[in-house]
């Protein structure tokens, strides 16, 4: 094996060169600190009926039976109300995500409660409703849809639960929002034969006995499935 001989001067030169090459990188280097960040998104889904939680139509005259009773003063029905608030329900929806509002009558018909052991019945389609959006979210702009009322342009007849009354059409902006965004009014009517309602007036219908007819209308707010 052949030995390699280096003079002290050469060795010193090599080591010095090595040190200075290290020095050339001796700059301040960057420093890094880490912080964990957590975000908890809790679901918020609330509905508040702040007006018109109980609606009652009282038929006292032949005109009432012939023309019906309506909460819409601008309605084509002959016997429209002189005051809007009497047959109106108002509600707001606050939701952190897209939502749908299901609604409908609890029973298949109105049920008479004051006449004998065999309850009288009244078809649900004698009652109709018109929908209006009062908040920032509106129908027909991608935020809200309403199939029963054809984007709130048609008087719909009362349906059996569950029917999607208002929903998100998944084509535009989110319908999530607070009460300023999602504020609605339902204007009720009975026996006016408007829109999708029973086209025959109460006075023309057979089997409608005098009674107090009631039904619960359910509303259920849920996360949109669209």
């Amino acid at each position: 094996m052949k030995k390699v001989h280096l003079s002290p001067l050469t060795a010193f030169a090599l080591l010095t060169s090595l040190m200075f090459s290290t020095l050339s990188n001796a700059q301040a280097v960057r420093d890094r600190n880490v912080i964990p960040v957590a975000v908890n998104l809790n679901q918020v889904l609330r509905m508040s009926i702040y007006d018109g939680g109980n609606i009652e139509f009282v038929f006292n005259t032949i005109d009432d039976y012939r023309d019906g009773l309506s909460g819409d003063a601008a309605s084509a029905s002959a016997n429209d109300a002189t005051s809007f608030g009497f047959y109106q329900s108002s509600f707001t929806i606050s939701s952190s995500t897209e939502w749908d509002l299901m609604y409908g009558a609890e029973n298949a018909t109105f049920i008479g409660v004051d006449d004998g052991t065999t309850p009288n019945t009244l078809a649900l389609d004698n009652v109709g409703l018109q929908l209006a959006a009062n908040g920032a979210h509106t129908f027909g702009t991608g935020e809200l849809i309403s199939a029963p009322t054809t984007l709130a342009t048609v008087v719909a007849d009362l349906d059996v639960y569950p029917v999607e009354l208002i929903g998100w059409d998944n084509t535009g902006a989110s319908n999530a929002g607070d009460e300023a965004d999602n504020d609605f009014t339902i204007t009720w009517r009975c026996g006016t034969a408007e829109g999708d309602m029973n086209a025959v007036s109460l006075i023309e219908q057979t089997g409608v006995d005098p009674d107090r007819y009631v039904v619960n209308v359910l509303f259920e707010l849920q996360i949109s499935d669209n």
């Binding site: 301040a28 890094r32 600190n33 964990p36 929002g177």
Partner: protein, 240 residues
């Protein structure tokens, strides 16, 4: 073969005591830079240094519980406080000159960034965009003879290299920046989660309540970083 060469070389050096002492002295002189308020001993050559110290707020939580949270977002002011140490070695009591030509620190930048591609939910299918989180930095103490050029600017969280630029910057170029020390020179960080208007690409994502498609309720997390990058005439960081 290599081992034999090195042993022989070492034996030669031992025989020359003058060379050995000289070599030892040179090695001893290359020390780590001392803190700027702790001058290095006379005759010692130090290197420049830059350090970032988190003094408080080492974790941040955002809890969205009301419609107002979703509509307005959540702002956390002064949530994190950091100390900054910048040390130019030739400034330490005049004990030594700048050891490397061109390495004098003329400024520095602090970046908000992350290695993660997005916020991840406990259900990994769910995610939030990084840019939903923004932050800004302001001086909370110190920085006398200020050369601060970027402060109070909202920067969206992004992956390295962050497109939003630095969240905090001092720039005294071409002159040397004043030394900073973490006990006296501190910045505070404000965080903005889901707050509109977004400064960057998140216009369609915040506020959360208006985001098209919405965000699935979940517990999301991400790890963010604050990176201190010193600047000098020859300092080049390819990542920034």
């Amino acid at each position: 073969m290599i081992t034999i060469v090195r042993l022989y070389l070492f034996m030669n050096l031992l025989r020359n005591s003058v060379l050995f002492v000289a070599l030892f002295s040179i090695t001893q002189a290359r020390g780590q830079c001392s803190p700027c308020n702790d001058p290095a001993p006379v005759g010692i050559i130090d290197y420049n240094s830059a350090r970032l110290s988190i003094l408080s707020g080492s974790s941040v939580d955002f809890n969205f519980q009301t419609i107002s949270d979703y509509k307005n977002g959540i702002t956390k002011s002064n949530s994190t406080v950091m100390g900054i140490s910048i040390c130019n070695c030739n400034s330490e009591g005049g004990t030594s000159a700048d050891p490397i030509a061109g390495s004098t620190i003329t400024g520095y930048s602090i970046y908000l960034d992350t290695d993660d591609p997005n916020f991840t939910g406990l259900n990994p299918v769910n995610s939030l965009p990084l840019c939903a989180l923004e932050a800004s930095a302001t001086v909370s103490a110190g920085f006398a003879a200020s050369a601060v050029t970027v402060t109070g600017t909202k920067v969206a969280l992004d992956q390295i290299p962050t497109a939003g630029g630095p969240i905090f910057q001092e720039d005294n170029s071409p002159l040397q920046i004043a030394d900073r020390f973490w006990t006296t020179d501190q910045i505070s960080i404000d965080y903005f989660m889901g707050v509109s208007p977004a400064s960057g690409p998140c216009a369609l994502s915040v506020p959360f309540i208006d985001a098209a498609g919405g965000y699935v309720p979940d517990a999301y997390y991400v790890t963010i970083s604050f990176t201190l990058v010193p600047e000098c005439t020859v300092c080049i960081d390819p990542n920034y």
